[in-house]
Amino acid sequence: MDSGDEDDHHQRENDGNNNNNNDEDDELDQQNIDNDNDDEQEVEEQQVGPDGKKLRPSQILSLQRAKTVHGKNPTSLVEKIVRIKIQSHPYWKEKCMGLNESTLVDRAMSLNSFGGTFGGNKQPTHFLCLMLKMLQIQPSMDIVVEFITNEDFKYLEPLYNDYRTIRLQLDIGYRKLSMDEFVEELLTTNYSLDIALPHLPPRSSLEANAGLEKRISALVELEKIDIDDLTQQVIDELDQLENNNNNNNNSNQEKTSKPKKSTEKSESDITNNNSNNNKEKSRTSKDRMDIDRDTRDRDRDRDYRDRDIDRNRDRDRDRDRERERDKDRDYRDRDRDRDYRDRDRGRDRDRDYRDRDRDRDYRDRDRDRDRDGYRDRVYHDRDRDRDRDRDRDRDRDRAYGRDRDGDERDSRKRDRSPVKEKEQILGEEKIKKKKDVSKYEKGSSSLSSSSSSSSHKKETEGKSDQQEIDEMNALRAKLGLKPLKP
């Protein structure tokens, strides 16, 4: 692992190092203060805060490191979520404590890959841990200068001439690319390895304004290639591609989407052809590995689901629903009785409530009784007031459970007579308030237009469905995805 690329990160941060003290910084660990090798004078200065007050020892410790670069703490270049992940990673805790500049370089030498975050839970690579460490210990300027001028450690553009391969750790597996590719990415993009890089003005504008010299490729210097020849070659290639494109529009789209204009770029392309081949190869093998793992995953899922489902319970519920109708009538009678009693007690408010939700209450009580016998009804009568809240909660839970059941019904196509199915839909329609309505609009539009006031439906009323789909399709086209199927 070349430690040069580490250098370039930290060079960016140290460019305009103005050694300000940052009072608010409290994000640094206490442990890495141990390897503090700042000169004494700086510490002396910090003993007294900006307002002249004496500082507590802990504050002094945190201030020792508190240098800002470009007006902010360099560790904040790493996003907070990634930073927290790094700092809770075992490698950080075990291997990054008590590192100083030289031991950090040793650690970096022993890395076997680099990258941002990887895996399903996006754990940070060791490379990223070391990088954050370097941002924390903030090597002093002369060390940085030493690194940069050292022949062994190169800084950014010289790395264009470094074609050693490096391993980029991806979510799954690795990718092989060469140093110059990575440096190109660092120089031109503003986001790499899960880190938002500070903006770097493009070379062309620096050449125009800051009097930077034009970069000449090493290949030109070595007289391996002639720039004029190369430009002609590239133009020819482009022409050829265009011709091909006219013949068959589909095939060559990817290549022409980013036409190579600058000779420099094409140079690097030519040299990188080799590594591209490797990339392809490794990717295919990786894919195969993935497929294996996926099938295993799916198997596990299925087992899990089978265990989960209690068929008997479902059948019971069906029978309940048939019985439910008969019972509703009974309940109405009984309920009238209860109304009288209520009025005696003068609870008008409660009655209103029950009127509104009578349907739901019936069903609840029905189901409750089936399960718990008569105890439940007695309970109801005794302290109905308190019970109601809880009842509502339970009802919501049950609706959720039903929701899931409904989906499973779809997927597993249990055989059921159409009449019953319709009943089921009716029942669901009443209970489910959150469920997507469009599903039912297909089969039975009268059902969905009934009393159920779903919040979801309200949302879609403002924006018509078709309009929404059109918007989504426009977005998908922009992202390069196929349009939605009806």
Binding site: I172, D290, D407, D436
Partner: protein
């Protein structure tokens, strides 16, 4: 076309229409465009099952109206 609901329980809840044969990566792109965040900073999961980018919704048996948990990283 199905519709899935993605909820990080911090105030962001998006409903997106997708095809069942879209991959999770595609879904992430659409979500990212809607809430203004990079697709690779999104993690979709259900309980401890982190959904992988290259697998389709069909294969994960994600149906119309299903909810996914949305996390950031």
């Amino acid at each position: 076309m199905i519709e899935v609901v993605c909820n990080d329980r911090l105030g962001q809840k998006v409903r997106v229409k997708v095809n069942p044969d879209d991959t999770i990566g595609d879904l992430k792109k659409v979500i990212a465009a809607q809430i203004g965040i990079r697709p690779d900073k999104i993690r979709l999961q259900k309980w401890y099952n982190v959904y992988k980018d290259h697998i389709t919704l069909e294969d994960y048996e994600i149906h119309d109206g299903d909810g996914l948990e949305l996390y950031y990283n």
